[in-house]
């Protein structure tokens, strides 16, 4: 029983750290990635602001960022973390690579969701004399909202996974706990407890996301 209480105590701080990292990184990644996704859709061939070169460059940058294994990206971005946060160690420092790692993913998710809006609906908006801004804000985003919510859910879950990885190189959080106690000190029960918390976290996020998406979908 003592052991149980002890593990619970051990879990408290890292769980909060993970939540903090995940929430902050997801928000920043979304702020960075959303415009990228919109730009990808607008600039593509036949898009509302067709621009082959802009599209090619954006597409390339997104692909390059996404090809980095996250752990490498983190190391590469250590200098950036130092500039922004002042350190490369700890949860706040980890938010930098987490956000930048997830932003291109958000970009792709947004691009996919917006492209799924039927062309006919967009054409209807065009022939009513809409500005591009109106089409994005009043047509594309509202029409794609349930898909965007599901995509965002996927992003947050991905960030949970990345944040656990970040623990391996001094990121803090549940991943760090699992590696320090479970791997280095052979305390398997702590490892399992950390994994269980992560599983519960991921399940909770998915349930929340699905629920919100189907609520938004209720009248469609």
């Amino acid at each position: 029983m003592d052991r149980f209480v002890r593990i619970m105590e051990l879990l408290m701080a890292p769980t909060w750290e993970t939540l903090y990292m995940v929430v902050m990184s997801s928000v920043i990644a979304t702020l960075l990635g959303f415009p990228i996704g919109i730009a990808l859709v607008l600039t593509e061939k036949g898009g509302l602001a067709e621009s082959p070169w802009t599209h090619r460059i954006l597409d390339g940058v997104v692909n390059v960022c996404r090809s980095f294994p996250f752990i490498i990206l983190m190391i590469v971005l250590f200098p950036l973390s130092r500039i922004i946060v002042g350190t490369t160690i700890g949860t706040t420092a980890t938010i930098v690579p987490l956000s930048i790692g997830a932003a291109p993913f958000v970009g792709r998710v947004v691009e996919g969701a917006l492209k799924a809006v039927p062309m006919g609906v967009v054409e209807a908006a065009i022939v009513m004399g809409s500005r591009t801004r109106d089409i994005v804000m009043r047509v594309l985003i509202p029409e794609a909202l349930p898909a965007l919510v599901l995509g965002e859910t996927l992003t947050v879950i991905n960030v949970v996974g990345y944040s656990a990885m970040a623990g391996a190189i001094g990121g803090g959080g549940l991943g760090d706990l699992a590696i320090r106690y479970g791997f280095h000190r052979f305390q398997t029960d702590v490892l399992i407890a950390a994994v269980v918390v992560i599983i519960v976290l991921v399940q909770g996020i998915q349930v929340l996301g699905n629920g919100l998406a189907s609520y938004l979908d209720r009248n469609r």
């Binding site: 054409e123 500005r131 009043r138």
Partner: protein, 349 residues
């Protein structure tokens, strides 16, 4: 000078030598429109008919610049759509409404929200939008569906919402892209009559494309027939109907479904069933009706009918009323069936 002014007032739409060619994926050049000249008078209901691939959809989309013509002029209300861009094009488009085969309503907005969209785009005030939306709902007779969602509506209701949305911004022209092709015949008629009513009450010019001759016959005053990107026939609908010159026109007239007269116009006498007799091939050439009268003693009152040549065979239908005693009537029905005539009893009281 007067002639130019006159043309501008009378002719709302004037296309001059409009050409549209695409590069197909395999590098071939496809000519969708090969030099279209066409004019539509203000207030007209104008039909563009053609088989699929004739270029009619492209022609309609050139009018509001969903497609840019490769060359030629597209004059709509004194503006050449072919050369407009940016804000000028946007405002020009606000003078034109469009409805589609698959309605293209916003699934994220209610019926009212959909109708409000073009008004929001035109930056009208909330109050103005509200008034105009309820006015439009009244026009299309959907006041009770203001807060419904598109997914809860039938096809006909969705098209009504689309019409309300297209007309909310008081456009001069309504373009209809196969607007009734996804609807059943009855709904099609009600939508066509709505368009007709709106045309006469608001004076909006309607241009519609369709592959159904029935649609043109029902509401259009003038029409063109398109074949391979060329206008092969044009003029008032009744002239084209009475004197079709092109192959396509003749084919379309042949395909017209023969509609039996409406139920309610037929006399209903208890004990005298109303029957549609349909015959084709040999039966059409035999004196079936007089034989039936002679052999069974039934009385046959012919209410309507037609015999038509369709390609090589002849087909016909007759709407008749059979009277006599029960034996005679049953005998006659049996006689018809035996001689290759299909029977449809439409009323039996």
């Amino acid at each position: 000078m007067w002639e130019g002014l006159f043309r501008e007032v009378i002719l709302l739409i004037e296309l001059k030598n409009v050409v549209k060619s695409f590069a197909s994926p395999d590098g071939m050049e496809v000519h969708a429109l090969r030099g279209i000249d066409l004019s539509v008078e203000t207030g007209d209901i104008f039909g563009i008919i053609g088989l699929s691939g004739a270029g009619k959809s492209t022609l309609l989309r050139v009018m509001n610049r969903l497609e840019s013509p490769s060359s030629g002029e597209v004059w709509i209300g004194g503006r050449n759509m072919a050369i407009l861009s940016g804000d000028e094009l946007r405002t020009a488009r606000q003078d034109m409404g469009m409805i589609f085969q698959h309605f293209n309503l916003l699934s994220s907005r209610s019926v009212s929200g959909n109708i409000a969209y073009p008004l929001e785009v035109q930056r009208l005030s909330t109050g103005e939008i509200k008034d105009r939306v309820s006015e439009m709902l009244r026009l299309v007779e959907l006041e009770d569906k203001a807060d419904a969602w598109p997914s809860q509506l039938s096809g006909g209701q969705k098209q009504r919402v689309a019409i309300a949305r297209a007309l909310a911004g008081r456009p001069k022209v309504l373009l209809c892209d196969e607007a009734t092709s996804a609807l059943d015949p009855r709904t099609t008629r009600s939508i066509l009559h709505l368009l007709e009513r709106i045309n006469s009450s608001t004076g909006v010019t309607i241009v519609l494309i369709t592959h159904e001759m029935d649609v043109v016959r029902e509401i259009c005053r003038n029409m063109v027939i398109l074949e391979d990107g060329v206008v092969v026939e044009s003029g008032p609908v009744k002239d084209v109907f009475l004197n079709p010159k092109s192959r396509t026109a003749k084919e379309f007239l042949d395909d017209l479904p023969r509609t039996p007269s409406q139920d309610e116009e037929l006399p209903k006498i208890v004990g005298s069933p109303l029957v549609i007799l349909r015959f084709d091939g040999d039966a059409a050439d035999m004196p079936i009706v007089s034989q039936a009268i002679k052999t069974t003693g039934v009385d046959v009152n012919i209410l309507s009918g037609e015999i038509d040549s369709l390609r090589s065979s002849r087909v016909g239908n007759l709407t008749v009323q059979l009277s006599g005693n029960r034996e005679e009537i049953e005998g006659a029905m049996e006689y018809f069936s035996r001689n290759g005539v299909s029977l449809e009893v439409i009323w039996n009281g």
